[in-house]
Amino acid sequence: MLKGIYRTITGKTVTERRMEIVANNIANCLTAGYKTSRPIFKLIDDINGSEADKTVAQKGNVYTLTSFINFTEGVLVETGNNLDLGIQGDGFFVVLVNGKNMYTRNGQFTLNNEKKLVTLDGNPVMGEGGEITIDGTDIKIESDGTIYVDKKFVDKIRVVTFQDKSILKNYGRNLFINTDARAGETIPENYAVKQGTYESSNVDVIKEMVEMMSTLRAYESYTKVDQFFSEMMEKLINLGRM
């Protein structure tokens, strides 16, 4: 009897996490360069670990959850702003944050007071030769990321990718960080930098709505089961009173 109640508790916890992830996707449905997070459900029995490590409650079909980031491409939005950059295909822009490389798909860049190319947070965007200084008015960025200012070559924007993107972790502020030091940056094979566009969020609102509805109903089912258990126990207890 009690075991069953534990199962619904963990199930409800998982459903709450799922709802939180969906809510975050929805809140970011217009955030440039945002990538959808998805929860994954697992049986505890699938998880590696000795039988003795598992608690009594875990031995049942209790679910745990992991999340992964869906790196599919978002739509490129035309703006005509010559410092808005979108990557078509695989790859990330490299941004220097506190001396550490971070990665972003949000190409809404601007210049700072030293004429350096920076993100909206003021973190420098890296080129092949380090930070990029743009001194001029006629800015042309080719599809391979080469920057020409007033028809003179300046630098090439660094675009990198990873063999296994699951090592990337959300940092917030449209940035991703690499969590596995052994996994190095590689140069993507197919990419094109599009000047005058930026990549919108890849959140599919319809999908999120469906996800939200199913989450809500799953939660409802768990509470119904709880009520059922509660009623059964109530009956048992009352039995003793007779």
């Binding site: 809140a27 670990g49 700072n112 007071n113 917030g172 502020r173 596995d180």
Partner: protein, 262 residues
């Protein structure tokens, strides 16, 4: 559970600001020299419940961790300094800037302001001023008995004065550019002011060093594209709506949890 409520709340919050900015753009669709603004968003920080890459009990790696985001926030409201369309007015003191640059004016506080609204007038002393009466810097005065004023693309202002055969040169209108015009502070009344982010002003003659040229008898219209703003409005409103649905769903879940014990 409460987290989902707050997360969707931040989403509604940013969309509300987004609509504020779109509304301001639309309100200024006919304001000369107006430059549209754009709201840019970011995701908020993440709470990591389990880090990917760590070792499990048996020495295997956790392939993906659990991270829960906290919603969205406003990253920046950027002015988009794209050229607006030109409108012919044939008014001799209307001027449009073709290319980069701002006119410099002296504000009543004595500080310098920068504007692209070129509907200039003359005041009682003959000084060239903006519609709000702010004089141009460097100051140019038009003599009383002037019959016509001509402003050349390179900014040289000359006047034809009654009784004189040769036009008289009055001065030069200078233009100013900034390393980062998006960093300028919008003061309203089409005036921008220098900030630490914009960098120091670089002043020069029109047509030189990347500065634009001056077009007499034209005005630069607002660079707001109504169609684009309407689409942004629809998208923004729907995003607001879907966030409110997420709040409702989270609220319903909370209600169910509260009703387990009757």
């Amino acid at each position: 559970m409460i987290r989902a409520l707050w997360t969707a709340g931040t989403g509604m919050n940013v969309q509300q600001i987004n609509l504020d900015i779109i509304a301001n753009n639309i309100a200024n669709v006919n304001t000369n020299g107006f430059k549209k603004s754009r709201a840019d968003f970011q995701d908020l920080m993440y709470q990591t419940l389990r880090l990917q890459g760590i070792k499990t009990g048996e020495g295997n790696q956790v392939p993906t961790g659990i991270e829960i985001g906290h919603g969205a926030m406003l990253a920046a409201v950027q002015k988009v300094f794209m050229q607006g369309d030109f409108q012919e007015t044939q008014n001799e003191l209307d001027l449009a800037i073709e290319g980069n640059g701002f006119l410099t004016v002296i504000l009543p506080t004595g500080e310098k302001g920068y504007t692209r609204a070129g509907s200039l007038k003359r005041d009682s002393d003959g000084k060239i001023v903006t519609s709000d009466g702010y004089p141009l810097e460097p100051s140019i005065t038009i003599p009383n008995n002037t019959t016509s004023v001509s402003i050349r693309p390179n900014g040289i202002v000359s006047a034809k004065i009654a009784g004189q055969s040769e036009p008289q040169q009055l001065g030069t209108i200078e233009l100013t550019i900034f390393p980062n015009p998006s960093g300028l502070k919008a003061m309203g009344k089409s005036i921008y002011m220098e900030t630490d982010a914009s960098g120091s002003p670089i002043t020069g003659k029109p047509g030189e060093n990347g500065l634009g040229t001056i077009l007499q008898g034209f005005l630069e219209m607002s660079n707001v594209n109504v169609m684009q703003e309407m689409i942004n409005l629809i998208v923004g409103q729907r995003a607001y709506e879907v966030n409110s649905k997420a709040i409702q769903a989270a609220d319903e879940m909370l209600q169910m949890a509260n009703n387990v014990r009757r």
